[in-house]
Symmetry: C4
Subunit: 159 residues, 4 copies
């Protein structure tokens, strides 16, 4: 038997959705994105918690990544429990029900006629073993825990 590939907790400190955009949409729209690969045999239920410089964390944002699938999630598309504001520093903690791998990607077209891109892996915060996170202040745990969206009713799914 093969175990799942990756980690269950991923951290990304340097979020900031570039604003405004230049060029035709959607291909040249500025974005910050999380790219998740679930190589496992079952769905990965993700709970994203968004951290700010000047406000309590917001979340969980439930996201589903089906078995044997990749999913590229633009932060612009996260609207429930609340939409992310553009051009505001944020970070994110991803809690997954099963091991996945998470990569960050940015496209910046704030300057007309110029395209800038950047990418990095997120940071795998758990040592490989399953972890348990408890609810903290504001209903959001220190590591962004909380009830995750079930994969059959995922509010980020464009449904």
């Amino acid at each position: 038997m093969t175990g799942p590939v990756g980690h269950r907790v991923w951290v990304l400190p340097a979020g900031r959705i570039p604003f405004p955009s230049n060029g035709s949409e959607p291909e040249f729209t500025s974005f910050d994105a999380l790219c998740v690969l679930n190589a496992g045999g079952g769905p990965a239920e993700l709970a994203l918690t968004v951290y700010y410089e000047d406000a309590e964390p917001v979340g969980p944002y439930p996201v589903c990544v089906p078995a044997r699938r990749v999913r590229h999630i633009r932060f612009n598309d996260l609207i429930d429990p609340e939409a992310l504001r553009l051009d505001r520093p944020f970070g994110v903690v991803v809690n997954s029900s099963t091991p996945v791998v998470v990569q960050f990607s940015r496209q910046d077209t704030r300057l007309p006629g110029s395209l800038a891109i950047a990418t990095t892996l997120a940071f795998p915060a758990d040592p490989g073993a399953p972890i348990t996170v408890a609810a903290g202040p504001g209903g959001v745990g220190p590591a962004g825990a909380g009830p995750v969206g079930a994969c059959d009713h995922d509010p980020q799914d464009g449904g």
Copy 2:
């Protein structure tokens, strides 16, 4: 004696070959690439499995990296078992017969007159010990296992 350097399983979630390209070919052609270093004394037989958002994984794509060699592989050049489509989100799991190190590199010339580049290490998914991956649905195991191309008949090798 010296052991090999690196890991045997690497994961890259944020693939998407930029399209179209601008500027002279091939130096300014948009690409996503995997760059593999095999510092060991024997060949590394790689099996790449490509994951999508909306379809079952495809693979294995066999790739050979000879002993004491680096190899930079553009995803555009992977054609067997099937060519990757441009401008489509994908991820990849690399299984290697011997430890290697894997880095991702992107060149994006979709915008005329502008060059954008990005790079990151891929994620080393095995804890350092040899792992065994079994075949799963569609003939492709959860971690992208499968028969690897022997280094003396590598279909990605430009023949």
Copy 3:
């Protein structure tokens, strides 16, 4: 109970604040930045030590990241004990009183009409366990230790 997320020592070797800048300020000002996420329930007191090619390390620069907050710190804003010069190679060691995650981000507008960006995680240098760093030559320890700024009087806080 949930433990904190991340590491207490982070290293970034490739600092160099781009100079000059082009375009409107502050959105297109060139910068090197450290982005820190503190998902824990208490404040993180950071001590940054800056390393140079041709001079002894300078620090500690105290920085506070409150509980459940992210903080994006431009190196241009570090002024105490001394301002960083622009366009000079440097590296930084971050010591934190509690586990955090650290990412590096660069914006380069030295070339008029062109925007370039890059990002990577910093390197987590401690194995996960709390570490103790002692003062070394010049009052700065090998790993950048030293007294950290208390979170209620943070000289980098723009106060």
Copy 4:
């Protein structure tokens, strides 16, 4: 007492010095660079081995990083035992006499009027413990071992 920070073996697979350059020199010259931070109390003697797609590895390139210093090394400046050719895929294994941290940085000005940059940490290949590497084929060991340049006569030091 405080131990040194980092690892002794680092790997970078995706080298390729961009060519040609556009814009004024040296600030806009295209380059690939290794950025090394030695936070320790003694000098770090580095031995770089360069790997190619179509030739045996070349090295060691001795480089010295003094105690408590950072050093940013452009691959263009490596000339002994032989200069690196531009626009040719390569990888590098760094062996250090003492723990350091290594980051890769690229500046690409091949396209007139456009600046592109990218960065990533190199891959730390040793598990943290001191390792021993033995000489292999061609006088260069599998992990790039070999006699290192003593820090008081470093041929890459611009003499």
